[in-house]
């Protein structure tokens, strides 16, 4: 059992557990904290996959920026805790869980019928190379120039929109 595999197991366990805990906590704050834990574990998983750049961005963007935003809004609105998660309208919620389990089984079936690993010949050197900032940056500014530019417009629209929707007072 290689170190990589052990790390994978640890991070996978943290990620899976924190995900489940996230959706079962009554308090939004605690849920958010578990999500941050999940993102951190994901970042670790990315490292086991030699995706250094993405791992760093994951921590900075997700755990750092997005989740702070979530926490900020939770604090701002102070929503009351949910009384219980499964008691109100339990039929529907069990149906939802059942459907979820079904889809999970289906996706697993697809993955294990498809067996993607059969067609793969992993190349460690290559996978390290593609995960570097340099490799990603080069692609991003050449082939993916147009999507990159459009991302700018997306963020611009989102900024304007967030301002318009959340600004406290608007001149009439």
């Amino acid at each position: 059992m290689s170190l990589n595999f052990i790390l994978f197991l640890i991070f996978a366990f943290i990620a899976a557990t924190s995900a489940v805990l996230m959706i079962t906590r009554k308090s939004a704050i605690i849920a958010a904290l578990f999500l941050i834990l999940n993102f951190a574990a994901l970042s670790g998983l990315y490292l086991t996959l030699n995706a250094q750049f993405i791992a760093v961005v994951q921590v900075i963007v997700y755990a750092g920026a997005i989740m702070v935003l979530f926490l900020f809004v939770i604090m701002l609105l102070r929503p009351s805790d949910e009384q219980s998660i499964f008691d109100d309208n339990p039929k529907l919620k069990w149906l939802a869980t059942f459907v979820g389990v079904l889809v999970f089984a289906q996706i697993l079936a697809i993955i294990f019928i498809g067996r993607p690993s059969d067609g793969l010949t992993p190349d460690l050197q290559r996978s390290i190379e593609v995960g570097t900032i340099e490799a990603i940056g080069r692609e991003l500014y050449t082939t993916y120039l147009i999507p990159f530019q459009s991302a700018a417009f997306l963020l611009l629209a989102a900024t304007i929109g967030a301002l318009i929707l959340a600004k406290k007072k608007l001149e009439d």
Binding site: L92, L95, A96, V99, G100, L102, V103, Q106, I107, A109, I110, I113
Partner: protein, 647 residues
């Protein structure tokens, strides 16, 4: 000149657009009326010029096809907006624009002060637009479009006074009845068009009729085509069994009844059958069906007309009856006579309706003839013109009705059999009787209205001038169709004019030897004498001995009430068709009592779907997560399908 035929379609459309879009802004009735009538008047002039030009051409070059543009082309189906200008369509166009123009002018007076004045003129122009498309079309698709268009206008105009009551219910429900019953006919018509396309691979008149003439086609297929087309005609032209909508259509304003439900739209069925005469000539069985239905309708409607008391109802049943005559003519193969009668009938029936409108106008919207009487002295112009129309419809020579009706009767004997003639002639007697009953009760005798409250008056010039013009044509229009027995071989102008249109049909049909001239004149004398006798009888019963009618009615109570109730056809339809549908839907309704039914604006068959849809819409609970669950279920099924199909 002929290329300008598109103007006759375009002008009414322009009139419709101007009045429809800006009418409410214009407000000035004179301007609206001038635009509306002017558009039709100009069209009439164009048609007239085209007629003059066409008359100058040799008989075999009188068909012109004016293609405006290609409309759609998919596969080998190529439909164009194209108009076929030939003898038949020119004649029809003259009737539609000419009489249409007069009725437009008349409406300026009749609709004066109505809050929907502009709307009325917009609809009328739209109607003329659709009707011109119908009669000028050179293919079945455009014909059908016009066919639907006139149906729509008829629907809009019957329900024109949607806030008024009409016989226990509303004008809107009368409009709906017309709409629904016409859909039954349209369905047959559509099937006919599909069948034509499947058989001949085209929907263009020239191509289809040429193919039908030259390519051997199974008779049963042609019979079905002819039958389906005839079903369409039955609906549009109010024949048995789909005639019930026409009397109800009288809920619309009287000019509408004159234009749409007497002179033009209802004859569209006759026109269409005449246009497709080749199919009928190839399907003798269906021709027999056409003749019998026409004959029965003529007789049946005439007897109902005997006892009706609503002036417009009498005229409505008379229209149904006259339409029956036209189909009788078509059914025995006398296509020319059928179209001839369309023309004369358009004149005198439009005149009758407009005259009735003038009376109704003068009598403050009273329509019961039992409450008229002695109007002769109050409205002299209306009286004289109405009298002319009555003589014309009764078939007294030399008025126009005589020529066309007699020709039909003659052919029903010569090409059909004696029984056809007998029933036809009998119907003519009944017609003469009830028309003069109407005339007597309205214009002669004592005044039966309350003179203190009702002050009958003659209508304004704008209404009486059209009456006079129509009266003139009701007298003289017949002279273009003087029977050959008087005018000599080839002396019948209208027959010569229309002969090329029906040449193929006549060549397909087996011709019988014609009986002698003596028989023709004998039958003519009998029917005229009969009509004169009926007129005398009507005057005797309703003027000389006023009580007699009631006595007869009392003595034959059963028969009278059957007639008065129109043979209970509406009731029978109600019992046999409408009620069972109600029952079935009631049964369903019972199960879902807690579901609120949408208001009964639409009939209950639709409410079944309403019910269904009201239950389904409850899925939309308003909770977003529930929507997501539905999505997930969709995804589960889709993934399952992929897994199963790819394993």
């Amino acid at each position: 000149m002929t290329e300008l035929i598109y103007l006759t379609v375009l002008l009414p459309l322009i009139g419709f657009l101007i009045n429809g879009l800006f009418g409410s802004k214009i407000k000035n009735e004179k301007i609206i009326g001038t635009i509306g009538s002017g558009a039709i008047g100009l069209s009439f002039i164009v048609v007239l010029l085209i007629l003059i030009e066409t008359l100058g051409k040799p008989a075999d070059q009188r068909v012109t096809i004016v293609t405006l543009f290609q409309w759609m082309k998919v596969g080998n189906l190529d439909i164009s907006i194209a108009y076929q200008v030939d003898q038949l369509s020119i004649l029809m166009a003259l009737i539609v624009t000419g009489i249409g123009f007069l009725i437009h002018v008349y409406s300026i007076g009749y609709m004066h002060g109505d809050k929907g004045f502009w709307r009325f003129f917009a609809y009328l122009n739209l109607f003329i637009f659709a009707m011109m498309n119908l009669i000028l079309a050179d293919n079945f698709v455009l014909l059908f479009l016009g066919w639907e268009g006139v149906g729509l206008c008829s629907y809009l105009l019957i329900g024109f006074w949607y806030d008024r009551k009409f016989e226990k219910s509303t004008t809107a429900s009368a409009a709906k009845k017309a709409f629904v019953i016409n859909r039954i006919g349209d369905f047959g018509f559509l099937l006919g068009i599909f069948l034509i396309y499947m058989t001949f691979g085209s929907l263009n008149f020239t191509e289809v009729f040429t193919a039908a003439n030259h390519i051997p086609v199974d008779e049963s297929v042609v019979s079905f085509i002819a039958l389906f087309l005839f079903i369409g005609a039955i609906g549009k032209s109010a024949q048995i069994p789909l005639f019930v909508w026409l009397p109800d259509a009288m809920a619309g304003p009287t000019p509408v009844s004159a234009l749409i439900h007497a002179a033009t739209m209802v004859t569209a069925g006759v026109y269409m059958v005449a246009r497709c005469s080749i199919f009928y000539a190839m399907a003798p069985t269906i021709m027999m069906v056409v003749a019998i239905i026409g004959l029965l309708t003529a007789m049946f409607a005439a007897t109902i007309g005997l006892v009706q008391n609503d002036i417009k109802k009498v005229l409505a049943y008379s229209t149904v009856s006259q339409l029956g005559y036209m189909f009788l003519a078509l059914g025995v193969g006398a296509f020319t006579s059928g179209i001839f009668h369309v023309m004369t009938h358009a004149f005198f029936k439009a005149l009758l309706f407009l005259g009735a409108g003038s009376v109704i106008h003068g009598m403050h919207h009273e329509q019961n003839i039992q409450k008229y009487g002695g109007l002769k002295k109050y409205m002299p112009v209306t009286f004289i013109t109405f009298l002319i129309a009555c003589i014309a419809i009764a078939g007294i020579p030399p008025f126009s009705g005589f020529f066309s009706k007699d020709e039909i009767l003659w052919y029903s004997y010569a090409k059909g059999n004696f029984l056809f003639w007998l029933i036809g002639a009998l119907t003519a007697l009944i017609t003469a009787f009830y028309m003069f009953r109407l005339l007597s009760l309205t214009f002669f005798g004592k005044e039966r209205f309350d003179k203190h409250h009702v002050h009958p008056h003659e209508s304004p010039k704008v209404m009486t001038v059209p009456l006079i013009i129509l009266a003139f044509f009701s007298i003289v229009a017949g002279f273009i169709g003087i029977p050959e027995v008087f005018s000599g071989e080839g002396g019948n102008q209208i027959k010569n004019w229309l002969a090329p249109v029906f040449a193929d049909a006549h060549s397909k049909k087996i011709t019988y030897g014609m009986p002698s001239h003596f028989v023709e004149i004998l039958l003519m004398v009998i029917s005229v004498a009969g009509a004169a006798a009926a007129i005398w009888l009507a005057r005797h019963v309703y003027l000389t001995k006023p009580g007699l009618a009631d006595q007869i009615a009392n003595r034959m109570k059963k028969g009278y009430s059957v007639l008065l109730n129109k043979y209970y056809v509406d009731e029978i339809y109600n019992k046999l068709i409408v009620q069972p549908i109600y029952k079935v839907s009631d049964g369903f309704l019972f199960k879902f009592t807690d579901v609120k039914i949408i208001d009964g604006t639409i009939n209950r068959t639709a409410s079944l779907i309403d019910l269904f849809s009201n239950n389904i819409k409850r899925i939309q609970t308003g909770v977003a997560q529930f929507y997501a669950i539905i999505m997930m279920i969709g995804i589960v099924i889709a993934l399952f399908w992929i897994i199963v199909s790819l394993i």
